[in-house]
């Protein structure tokens, strides 16, 4: 009799302790952010918000590719695990197209705002609308990244070079520095240029500005892929040419590798994002403090256009705390909070902050950044972008590693993109 009673009591204990509810406890938000410099600012802002308003914010931080997967899977399976998500702007059309995000305008109105204010940079805010520029608003921009052309001003002064206005000038500068800096500050070769050409997002992001400057277009007016136009092939040939003066193995480089070379002073020029500026001037990480200068992207046949790469914050449609989430969103994207974030190194998305005197003192490159942001171009806003970027990136990487010639790579890439679009129809 006794053993049976004890067993029954134990069983009851076990069963009652397994009491998990699907509804999260109130006054709590879960935020999915990207790991690395772009996500750190939002992470710190969330910590500030939590201590100021007593709301606990759970942070789920993932590397770039994993973040995309986790967000897509969670939103599609409608679990409501995340209340706020960070989206890289090329992902946005996919999420918005499948109706996974909450429309923000009604929520903003509910919190007393008629619409997102006009202080946001137009190009950044346009990314948050689906369809692009004209549709309803589904996100707010937070990290105002658009590419800049970085160069070592000390080496430029040494060889009396001017900041490059065109890609031809840039190549001349690259060759000059590469040939003359065989034994640089660290005793090794200083490479004229460094870029990332790992297949996928890395290669495509670094290639687009060159592609656009040479007059290439991914799609024609009818939506057919045209990457293998003469302009496109010329652009890839130029990229491979630049690759000759890049560190070996650049065909597999990601953002970290490029960052490492720039911070170590072993490469003189690169396309990169403003979020790295604070790292370059951080003495604990950088050997080139005060030596990196930036300018807008060089031109070729066409005016240099930076690629915009903003990180947006959106609220999933199935979040259980939409109202609480939008309050955090309004707070985080307010001018005051964005200024604090900017002081921590986050590029803002508000025009007033780019002209703020205090911030200008710390970041004299802000005028260049604002010019870059306002004249930047987004990558094609298609829901198939992930597949297209993957395929395009593979061929760019093959051309840069010498497996295919630029013409072959572009032709094959074009055929593959055509296949992807066919499947989507």
């Amino acid at each position: 009799m006794r053993p049976t009673i004890i067993l029954t009591l134990l069983l009851l204990l076990v069963l009652t302790s397994c009491n998990r509810t699907v509804e999260p406890t109130p006054r709590q938000l879960t935020l999915a952010i990207v790991s690395g410099v772009e996500g750190d600012a939002l992470k710190q802002a969330a910590a500030d918000y939590g201590s100021q308003f007593g709301i606990h914010i759970n942070i789920a931080q993932f590397p770039y590719a994993n973040l995309f997967e986790k967000e897509l899977i969670d939103l599609k399976s409608r679990t409501g695990a995340y209340d706020l998500i960070m989206l890289d702007d090329p992902w946005f059309p996919r999420f918005a197209n499948e109706h996974l995000l909450t429309e923000l305008t009604p929520l903003l109105r509910g919190s007393g705002l008629a619409s997102p204010d006009t202080d946001f940079v137009e190009t950044s805010l346009a990314l948050c609308r689906h369809p692009y520029e004209s549709g309803p608003l589904y996100a707010l921009p937070y990290v105002g990244n658009s590419q800049l052309f970085f160069y070592r001003k000390d080496l430029f002064e040494k060889y009396s070079l001017k900041p490059p206005a065109s890609w031809t000038d840039a190549l001349t500068a690259v060759k000059t520095i590469h040939e003359n800096e065989k034994a640089g500050a660290n005793g090794g070769q200083v490479y004229g240029y460094v870029m990332r050409a790992a297949q996928g997002n890395a290669a495509v992001a670094d290639f687009m500005p060159i592609f656009w400057a040479f007059g290439g277009e991914m799609f024609d007016a009818g939506g057919k892929p045209t990457v293998n136009s003469p302009a496109g092939i010329a652009a890839l040939e130029f990229m491979v040419e630049l690759g000759k003066y890049s560190p070996p193995g650049y065909a597999s480089f990601n953002a970290d590798d490029v960052g490492a070379h720039l911070l170590q002073g072993t490469a003189a020029m690169s396309i990169n994002w403003p979020a790295w500026i604070s790292s370059f001037n951080d003495a604990s990480k950088s050997k080139v403090v005060g030596k990196m200068e930036f300018t807008t992207l060089p031109a070729a046949q066409k005016q240099g256009q930076a690629e915009i790469g903003n990180w947006l914050i959106a609220i999933p449609r199935d979040s259980h705390n939409a109202q609480l989430a939008v309050e955090f969103l309004i707070w985080a994207t307010s001018a005051e909070q964005m200024k604090r974030s900017a002081q921590r190194g986050n590029p803002p998305t508000r025009k007033s902050l780019f002209q703020d005197p205090e911030l200008l003192q710390k970041y004299p490159a802000y005028p260049a950044q604002l010019r870059s942001l306002e004249s930047s171009r987004p990558r094609p806003r298609t829901p198939q972008w992930n597949e297209i970027e993957n395929a395009f990136g593979i061929f760019l990487s093959k051309a840069n590693s010498g497996t295919l010639s630029p013409a072959e790579a572009m032709n094959q890439a074009n055929a593959e993109i055509e296949k992807i679009l066919q499947r989507a129809r």
Partner: protein, 298 residues
């Protein structure tokens, strides 16, 4: 039913309940975690999402025939599996034969040889990625010290050397497993056949070929089978070391399936590819078993 009643002792209907209750949890787990997902996966692979909704079709399997990426990935997987298996087997067998003798410090050698196998594959991938980095890695650093020019030795970033590098990492990690199984097999062989061979005046090579190898056959079969199944499915190391690059040079089937499922969200196509991989593994396993068993009876 009548049999069990007789076995346990006729005490009413309750007797079959107890064994069923014991195995019920195991069956539930098997059904829910193995059988149901397998059937679901098959269902998903036979469906296609079109503008009109979800329809049943063989489209996903048909797409396999025209997909160059799939064919290339399959080719890479087979090259990887063959090369890695050959190296692991030969090295493992050699080490097992060497350490089968009574030499001093044998246990130390054996223990240290087992270390790579005990590390998680992800950790192995990360560590080797750092070691093989073309500019900041220890391998190229050491080679530079010896005066070797490492400009073209970019290992995981070189289209020529990337496949070699990932194979080398796999061999480093899994040769100990082959060694372990073959050593156990060697130790199970009795001494009599060897004594008989010695009396018959057979040379070392003849002894090895006609005594050791046939008696080692079961162990060889097991180790080849297990390694082949693992190698065909390889994912972790390649994902960490090269992510399939540079330019698709090291992309294997598992990586392609992963990308299709989780980056492009095309689960139907990914499921179809998974079934092809399953079929391939099955066929190869059956061939192994038939081949090695047939020789035994001959």
């Amino acid at each position: 039913m009548p049999k069990s009643r007789r076995f346990f002792n006729a005490h009413g209907k309750r007797e079959w309940l107890l064994p069923v209750l014991f195995i019920a949890p195991a069956i539930a787990v098997l059904l829910s975690l193995s059988i149901y997902p397998l059937i679901y996966s098959l269902t998903v692979s036979l469906q296609e999402e079109t503008a009109a909704g979800v329809t049943w079709s063989l489209g996903n399997f048909a797409r396999l025939l025209t997909d160059d990426f799939f064919r290339t990935a399959l080719g890479h997987t087979l090259v990887y599996a063959t090369a890695a298996l050959t190296c692991e087997f030969l090295l493992g067998l050699g080490l097992a034969l060497l350490l089968n003798k009574q030499i001093r410090g044998r246990s130390v050698f054996r223990a240290s040889l087992l270390v790579p196998m005990m590390l998680p594959t992800v950790v192995v991938g990360v560590v080797w990625r750092l070691l093989l980095h073309s500019n900041f890695g220890a391998l190229n650093g050491t080679l530079k010290q010896f005066g070797i020019n490492t400009e073209t030795l970019t290992w995981t970033a070189s289209p020529r050397l990337a496949m070699l590098s990932v194979i080398a990492v796999d061999v480093w990690q899994w040769t100990p497993f082959v060694f372990l199984v073959l050593l156990a097999g060697l130790q199970a062989i009795p001494q009599e056949p060897y004594e008989a061979a010695l009396i018959d005046g057979s040379s070392r090579w003849q002894t090895f070929r006609h005594v050791t190898l046939p008696l080692l056959k079961p162990s060889i079969l097991i180790v080849l089978l297990l390694r082949t199944m693992d190698l065909l499915r390889v994912f972790d190391q390649i994902f960490i070391l090269t992510e399939g690059g540079p330019g698709f040079a090291t992309e294997t089937i598992s990586l392609y399936i992963y990308r299709t499922a989780f980056r492009f969200f095309d689960f139907g196509y990914a499921a179809a590819m998974s079934f092809v991989l399953l079929a391939l593994t099955n066929v190869i396993s059956v061939i192994y078993i038939k081949f090695l068993q047939a020789k035994e009876t001959a």
